[in-house]
């Protein structure tokens, strides 16, 4: 194992590389896959952010794929064969699935060894990672603050150099928002472009896997190996374009739409606003045209989301009943007692809240008023975007209205918490891709810029994000 035990200097060099740089270094023989794995495994095992819920002991046998030797952190809700996959919930404590999610398998086949499973809000329900059944994750920029959520463990691990990159999932903002709060890049792809098979479901019509990375190039590299039509996921489709590594230096002629009416929202932090305006000015400096667009129905997005997502969740979470796997309570007291006690003890408050909301919204007599109406709003929002993309190529907003907030600051006020996803949710409802890149600081905390585009416009988004990334020159967190 001597080869796999790098010196302190080697470790520092390895963990400061982006994933692409590490892949290149391994390819060139400068760093061995074993060294890379050992470096990250040791850091992940020493994690004091509570970002990981499980860390691998050793790498699987190397296979020499294009991502050969670049360790991958995976959000807990991806099923990984024989490895705890608990979706942040006590109801799945110790659950080790008999199969691996398609996207994790694809990345393993491409050579990326599983480094560990990352903490998350329970069943991806949350925007702060405080809803995890395994404790909150700390933001490496300020340990008294949240990392965002629900992919908070993945974002914190990447930002703190505990992993070169990570998989997250985004239902209403769960990749983009923690990426913004941790000063890294997060891509939420077009719905259907990445298989959902093996992702423990929150809201099936919204859930989408995506990369959390140090930079835009890494996001493109990881995403390029995630796409694909999966025969096990009927809602997956082949991406019409080959995903390319971005190279644009200019944004000449690119029309960036800004929904000005949406920026008047109450609660938009002044520092966030300033960083966002500065990013737009930078884009213009690169040749982009910033144009005003209207998204008249986007204001209803949050309400529609908090009907549709809980409705789907109420059904998706019905399988956690104590019969086949996970927690089981009081089986000797009869079926109803087993069901109710298992679910009472196994689910956290936010999950229960959403199951109740969703169950209510689908109930006979309320369906049309809630679920039916929310689906109509969803259609209207998609129409808004279709119209808007007639007048612009990309849409820009702040990713989140505020930078990372303090641990415990919003836990008593679910609605305030929900408002954190106000800029990301409309795109999720329309199934559209969006990226968050760091665009500055507000009171010393990172601010995210969201760039979104039409379905399957990932290449366009990645190119623009790359050009802006180079021009902005955001200084990431120093990896200690």
């Amino acid at each position: 194992m001597s080869e796999a035990t790098p010196t302190h200097g080697d470790t520092a060099r390895i963990v400061r590389m982006t994933a692409k740089q590490l892949a290149d270094a391994i390819g060139a023989g400068d760093v061995s896959a074993a060294e890379a794995f050992a470096a990250y495994r040791d850091r992940a095992a020493a994690d004091d952010l509570n970002a990981f819920t499980w860390v691998a002991d050793e790498a699987p046998p190397a296979n020499g794929g294009p991502l050969h030797g670049v360790p991958l952190a995976v959000k807990d809700l991806f099923c990984t064969e024989g490895v705890p996959s608990q979706a942040g919930s006590r109801i799945l404590e110790g659950y080790r699935p008999p199969y691996t999610a398609t996207v994790v398998k694809q990345l393993a086949d491409a050579g990326a060894p599983l480094l560990g499973k990352t903490n998350q809000d329970e069943f991806a329900m949350g925007s702060s990672n405080e809803n995890s059944g395994f404790g909150p994750v700390r933001n490496p920029w300020d340990r008294e603050r949240v990392p965002g959520g629900s992919s908070g463990g993945s974002a914190a691990a990447v930002a703190a150099g505990l992993a070169p990159w990570a998989l997250g999932t985004d239902t209403g903002g769960s990749i983009r928002q923690p990426a913004a709060m941790c000063g890294i890049v997060g891509l939420k792809p077009t719905y259907g472009s990445v298989s959902r098979y093996g992702m423990i479901a929150f809201a099936s019509s919204l859930d989408q896997a995506g990369p959390l990375t140090r930079d835009v190039t890494d996001a493109a590299l990881l995403y390029a190996h995630m796409v694909g039509c999966d025969p096990c996921d009927s809602t997956s489709v082949a991406h019409p374009e080959q995903i390319a590594l971005p190279s644009a230096e200019r944004l000449d002629g690119v029309r960036i739409g800004v929904p000005r009416d949406r920026l008047g929202e109450e609660g938009l932090d002044a520092g966030v606003r300033a960083a966002f305006d500065q990013a737009l000015a930078t884009a213009e400096g690169l040749g982009a045209h910033v144009v005003d667009i209207a998204l008249p129905h986007a204001a209803h997005g949050l309400s529609a989301y908090y009907v549709i997502a809980p409705a789907e969740a109420s059904a998706n979470l019905a399988r956690f009943d104590g019969v086949r796997y996970g927690l089981r309570r009081d089986e000797d007291e009869g079926l109803l007692a087993m069901y109710t006690h298992t679910r009472h003890d196994g689910f956290g408050d936010e999950v229960k809240r959403r199951i109740l909301i969703g169950t209510y919204a689908l109930s006979s007599g309320y369906y049309d008023a809630y679920y039916g109406r929310a689906q109509q709003v969803r259609t209207k929002i998609a129409d808004d975007f279709r119209r808007a993309f007639g007048a612009c190529d990309l849409i820009a907003t702040p990713t989140a209205p505020t930078p990372a907030f303090g641990l415990g600051e919003k836990t008593g006020d679910p609605l305030a918490m929900y408002l954190g996803d106000i800029f990301t949710i409309p795109f999720s409802l329309a199934g559209l891709p969006g990226i968050s890149i760091p665009c500055g600081l507000s009171a010393g905390l990172p601010v995210g810029l969201q760039l979104a585009g039409p379905a399957f416009a990932e290449n366009r988004i990645l190119d623009a994000a790359y050009a802006l990334e180079q021009a902005i020159g955001f200084a990431p967190l120093e990896i200690a």
């Binding site: 809700l77 991806f78 099923c79 996959s85 979706a87 799945l92 659950y95 699935p97 008999p98 199969y99 999610a101 959902r196 098979y197 093996g198 992702m199 423990i200 479901a201 809201a203 099936s204 019509s205 025969p231 096990c232 996921d233 009927s234 809602t235 409705a311 789907e312 109420s314 059904a315 979470l317 019905a318 399988r319 956690f320 009943d321 019969v323 086949r324 796997y325 079926l335 069901y339 169950t359 689908l362 109930s363 006979s364 369906y367 679920y371």
Partner: protein, 474 residues
């Protein structure tokens, strides 16, 4: 005078489709295998698993829709039907709701309301003496059955009595069997039937309060169950008590009906569109493929046999219900167009000798049966002799003409030989002859019997009667 009541009955039939794999995963279908060997993350409802629709099940659904003259939806979707039960691993059943694959239709004199596709639940085994959930020591789950494709066929309330319900269900069964989409075996549960039952005063157009009767797992129990429920409702109304809308359980052993749940206890299934599946869009190619596999169905075949071939109602129904008999019947007809009713009769004779077997697999070639019928219609042999030849054919096969010659079965003409035998028979049965002379023709039996015995059945019965009357001077 007491009010006369009329039952109004509609059926809900669940049919397991005979696909190779389950409705939403690749596990093979099975019956009677050791428990929980045909399972996977999808049909176990493991976290993260996703369903994928079985194209063959859709194909079978379309065939059923075409056979029942339903309207086929160009676009239909699956819904989630939410309820908790240990045999339902996801906590919801993937079924169809407001956009089923097939709407409307008709089979025989019963209108079809709809046909939709769904997945079967797993099987609960209740450990303990009762075999039912109440009073059992424990319940264990076998997921082999879970996810088997089901077609649910719902009729309009067009049935008016238990016998009619049973008869119609049999027509549906033979139709589905001939479609080749299901084993339709009630004992094995590949055909299951619930009945919605109400009664109303004869002449009324309004529907009474209905009850749903479950668990009738044989044709006999369906008829008995419906009868018992109609009697129960009639007694209630006669006593001035209302029928309560509820779901009922029929116990075939005691023939007692017990309540499973009332309307107030009914589930709110919270149906919503299944987001894990894309809509089923029926293409012209899919429809064409379904149409191409559609055989002639029992009802149409029965009608054709009656109207075009002039078969009796009984013969037409028997042949139409059993596709293998019909196929054999038609291959005999094709030999040299014998008289269809005669062919039907002799196919029936043959079928009776083969138990449930397929005549095509017997030793009797269609050409041999046609030749036998030819010998009979040319009066070369008698009916009795023909039956003997058929017995021989069933046992050993061969050529009827050769059998007739070898066994000496050729019919006798009316000549001197027969006259002599008739005279002997009269002499040997003097008492009978006296009765006949006294006007009692029914007494001729022993005399004819004597002649037939003496001629090994080769004599023509009509000719013998004529000769008896002649010789007795009548």
């Amino acid at each position: 005078m007491a009010t006369e009541y009329e039952p109004v009955i509609g059926l809900e039939i669940h049919v397991q489709l005979k696909t190779r794999t389950k409705m939403f995963c690749g596990c093979p279908l099975s019956f009677g295998d050791p428990p929980n060997i045909h399972t996977c993350p999808v049909c176990l409802g493991l976290p993260g698993a996703l369903p994928v629709t079985n194209a063959r099940a859709i194909h079978y659904g379309l065939m059923i829709g075409l056979a029942l003259e339903s309207e086929l939806a160009p676009r239909s979707i699956f819904h989630r039907k939410n309820y908790f039960y240990p045999d339902l691993p996801k906590g919801y059943q993937i079924s169809q709701f407001d956009l089923p694959l097939c709407s409307g239709g008709r089979l025989g004199d019963v209108r079809i309301h709809r046909v939709h596709l769904e997945e079967d639940a797993a099987k609960l085994v209740h450990v303990g003496e009762s075999g039912r959930i109440h009073g059992s020591d424990a319940s264990i789950v076998d997921f082999n059955r879970g996810g088997t494709p089901l077609a649910e066929i719902v009729t309009e309330p067009d049935l008016r009595c238990a016998e009619q319900a049973r008869e119609w269900l049999n027509l549906l069964r033979v139709t589905l069997r001939q479609l080749g989409v299901s084993d339709v075996n009630m004992e094995e549960g590949s055909l299951r039937c619930d009945a919605n039952i109400s009664i109303r005063p004869v002449g009324s157009d309004e529907l009474g309060t209905k009850t749903e009767l479950k668990n009738m797992n044989s044709f006999r129990f369906i008829e008995r169950g419906i009868k018992a429920e109609v009697e129960r409702q009639t007694a209630l109304l006669r006593a001035g008590e209302p029928v309560v809308q509820e779901t009922l359980h029929f116990d075939p052993r005691t023939e007692r009906i017990t309540s499973l749940r009332s309307k107030e206890e009914a589930h709110d299934y919270r149906y919503f569109p299944e987001p894990d599946l894309v809509p089923i869009a029926i293409t012209p190619q899919m429809l064409e493929a379904a149409r191409a596999e559609l055989p002639e169905l029992p009802a149409a075949r029965e009608e054709r046999y009656r109207a075009t071939l002039g078969l009796s109602a009984d013969s037409a129904k028997l042949l139409a219900d059993r596709a293998e008999l019909a196929a054999y019947f038609e291959s005999v007809l094709a030999v040299d167009s014998p008289e269809p009713q005669a062919v039907a009769n002799w196919v029936t004779e043959l079928a009776a000798r083969l138990d449930e077997g397929d005549p095509a697999a017997s030793k009797v070639a269609p050409a041999a049966l046609a030749a036998l019928i030819g010998l009979l219609s040319s009066k070369a042999i008698t009916v009795g002799a023909a039956r003997q030849v058929l017995d021989k054919l069933v046992a050993d096969g061969g050529d009827p003409e050769a059998i007739v010659d070898a066994e000496g079965l050729r019919a006798m003409g009316g000549g001197d030989e027969l006259e002599g035998i008739v005279a002997e028979a009269i002499a040997a049965n003097a008492a009978a002859a006296e009765k006949i002379k006294a006007g009692n023709m029914k007494a001729i039996g022993p005399i004819i019997g004597h002649v037939m015995k003496a001629t090994k059945g080769r004599a023509d019965g009509g000719e013998v009667t004529r000769l008896v009357r002649q010789q007795l001077g009548l």
